[in-house]
Structure formats: C-alpha cells, structure tokens
Symmetry: C2
Subunit: 226 residues, 2 copies
DNA sequence: GCCGGAATACTCTGAGCAGAGTATTCGGCG
DNA sequence: CGCCGAATACTCTGCTCAGAGTATTCCGGC
C-alpha cells in the first residue's frame, strides 16, 4: 500500500475545495475546471466519484445533506472533517517538500532509443522539438490572456512551472538532435552500423562476438568493460 | 481505450529485449535491471507477467519453448513476432516524436499551494530544493562511475535527460522561494492575510465578499475580473 | 556438510481507476 | 412552442497493475 489511504491527487484537490466550503461532487469538478486546475490534476468523473466515496470511508469528508434543485437528480453535499484538514495539509506539505521519482515517457523512449537507427531518432526528436515549440506558444498565449483578465501569478504558478519544464525539455532535445546530426554524439557511427548489419541479417550475438571487426574501433566502446 | 493494446511502457521494454533474442520473462527483467533501464521504466514482477501475457494475447510475442534447467521451475521462452517488431518501432517512434501531457506531482502541489500560508510554502520548497541537490549529486556520482567503467553516453542518455530536468526544476524552485521570501512574488501579502483571517474564524465567503477591506488594495488582484 | 542468505522464478489478490455510457433539464432560436 | 444542443449529474464495467507472498535452488562460509 502507498503512504496515503487515498492516493489519487484528485483526492487532494477535492479536499482543497471542501476546505473552502461544503460542495457536492459535480460542483467540485466545475470549480476545479473553472480555476484551470484540471490542467494540473487529472479529472474524470469515474475517478471523482470513487475518490469521494473513498474519502468518506476514511472519514476525511462527510455527507452533509442531499438536496434537489427542481427536478434535477439528488445531490449529496460533502463537508471536510478535521481529519480531512490535517490530511490535506500534511499531504500538500509532502507534495511540495519531497521530490518523487516520476517515470516520464520520454525517459522511457530515450532508454530504448538504440532500438532505432540514429538518423531516424534524430528525425523523430526533431519533430518533437517542433511540437514542443507549438505547445510553448500556446502556453504563452494562455498566460497573456490570463494576465489581461487580471489573474495574478499565484493562480498561474503551476502553469509557469509547466512552461519552465517544457522549455528545459526543448533545450535538451535540441542539443541532442544537433549532436546526433553533427556526429558529435559519441558512438553514433557504431550505432548506425549495428542497424545496417542487422538489416543484412546478422544477429546481436554475431555482431557483439567481435565488435571491433564489425563496428570498427568505436565498437569497442559499445561493450562495457567488466 | 488508449491507443495501444498494451499500454504499459514495460511492454515496450519487453519488446525491445525480445527484438534482440528470445528470452524468458525473468531473464528480461534481469537484462533490464543490468542495463539500468529500471531507472526509467517501472518494473515489477506482477506487471511483467501480466504484460507478457497481454503481449502474447495480441500476437506481438509468442511462446517458443518451455525449458527447465535442473530442478528450477519451468520457464517459458518468448520470441517477438513481425507484428511485435512493427508495434515496437511504431510505439518507440511515437514516444520520441510526440510530447504527451504528464501530470507531475509538483504541478499538482503548486496548483493547490494557496491552501497553505506563503511562509510555510517557502519553507517546504526550500526543503525540496535541498533534496533535489542531494539527488543531483547522486546522479552525477553515478555518471562518473559509469563513465569510468567505459559506458558511453548512448546508454546514459535517459539519465542525462533526467539530470537535466532535475536541474531545471531546482532552478525554478530556487527562484520561486527567493521571490516568496523577498515579497517580490505578486499578491504574497494578501495570500498571507487570507490565512490569518481564516485562523481568526472568517470564512472564504466573508473575506471575498469585500476583499479590499480585508486584504487591502492587493486583495483586488486576487479576485479575477469578469 | 550444513546452514543462511541471495538469487531464481514466479503467482495471487484486490483496489483503483479510466472511459464510455445514460438520463434529465435548461436555454436559446426559429 | 417545440426542438436541439449544451450543461448537469452521475453510474457501470472491466481491465490494469502494484505489492506482497511463495517456493525452490544455488553458493559461500564455517
């Protein structure tokens, strides 16, 4: 089991809404959406209702009343408990203070990148760089609009963080693509050669049985010592 | 349903191993571990075996033989199919070329950060910065050791990416902490005041019914126009 | 030669969660 | 005044996957 009884970050968002005032689940979802929090916290109804149920089971929130406006379906209004407030503050503090290992999809991609030839990888990463630029443009436009509407940085800080990380990724990718294209990336020749040989029908075992013969001096570097 | 029949990145890693040569599941896990890929791709046995089963169901891999060495339990050796090779290349290409929205835990934390008073947030983020520095040191030490053992960048690239992103996060956090502490962060006074008032028993509604009275001129900025 | 710990090689279980589906009601437009 | 689409407000289903548990075997030390 993970540290928290309810692990989904959406539960933290629910607690943060209910810390302001009692609400019913759909109102929680609308509030989060209005404030743009669904950009940072994945929100879907399936999860929302099961998360609310789980929070109630653990007495972090409690049902207040079931009201009905007009002929609309019944809605249960929930309020946060003292235990819920404590959990919210403790959880949020942990989130801010403690880095956790996150498995980024690009990290997986880079880890397996030798599975494609270097020129293909360079082309694909080039495409990624272009797409990142488009995304950055969209984020910037959104920020400008938000500021024009008088929104302060306090409510944009998560988006500013996102922008910062996107820009960092772009910088890394552009450097990597440049090195792959220029040949400055060490071992790129041998890496390309491996794919040529495999296309000719050689197996990995055959190639690495005598790397220097098949790949040249650079091939030696592909085989870790010890 | 998501685009891939088998969605777990671990499945991609399995395909990448079997693209080299047939293996049995436990050998796949050892191979990934040896190469340090479990730093970038979450690997646990429960997932591994269900992922292998799913890949087989979709004819991306197929069972070759069940062998037994000595009295060890039976092991099923799997080989990749042509469909599996196609899926591997297509999937990897997508991973490299197409950014996907990932929900970072810090992004969630920052989005909900107004739920704690600014001085507390600054302290917590300061702790995070310290921890990030420790992590960066560990990654650097690991890289030095890997290079000393003759490992080329090709097999470290995902770790270099990770390092780059950690450093970027650190830079963002340090700037943010400095702005919070110096008061350069817009709205920080009003934000602190909201928490004081709440501690005195006022509700959010009461405070925001007349923000300028409770929070001063700065309070106006906390209420978005329109 | 026997004991303990590491390595080998999985299996089981159940909670969580995503995505799709459903039913109702409101508001605006022709 | 009737229709259509958007908004409201959920419910259901099934699959994934994490974590813990299990059994065997090898190996090194005493």
């Amino acid at each position: 089991m993970s540290r928290r009884r309810v692990n989904n970050p959406l539960a933290l968002a629910v607690l943060s809404c209910l810390a302001e005032r009692p609400m019913h689940p759909y109102e929680i979802s609308s509030t989060l959406r209005e404030r743009g929090k669904e950009q940072s916290i994945k929100l879907n109804y399936g999860s929302l209702y099961s998360v609310v149920e789980a929070l109630q089971r653990h007495r972090l929130i409690e049902a207040r009343e079931t009201e009905r406006a007009g002929k609309r379906p019944e809605r249960t209004v929930y309020a946060i408990t003292q235990a819920g407030i404590d959990e919210f503050e403790d959880w949020l503090a942990e989130l801010l203070s403690t880095p956790v290992k996150e498995y980024l999809s690009l990290e997986a991609g880079l880890a397996l990148m030798p599975g494609l030839p270097p020129d293909v990888v360079a082309r694909l990463l080039g495409i990624r760089a272009d797409r990142l630029k488009v995304e950055l443009g969209a984020v910037d436009a959104m920020h400008e609009q938000a500021r024009a509407q008088g929104l302060v940085d306090l409510f944009l800080v998560e988006s500013l963080y996102r922008r910062h990380m996107l820009a960092a990724e772009l910088a890394f990718i552009e450097k990597l693509v440049a090195d792959l294209r220029s040949g400055a990336f060490p071992g790129v020749k041998a890496w390309a050669r491996v794919h040529e040989l495999r296309a000719e029908g050689l197996s990995m075992e055959e190639i690495f049985a005598d790397p220097v013969r098949h790949l040249g001096e650079e091939g030696r570097a592909l085989v870790p010592r010890e």
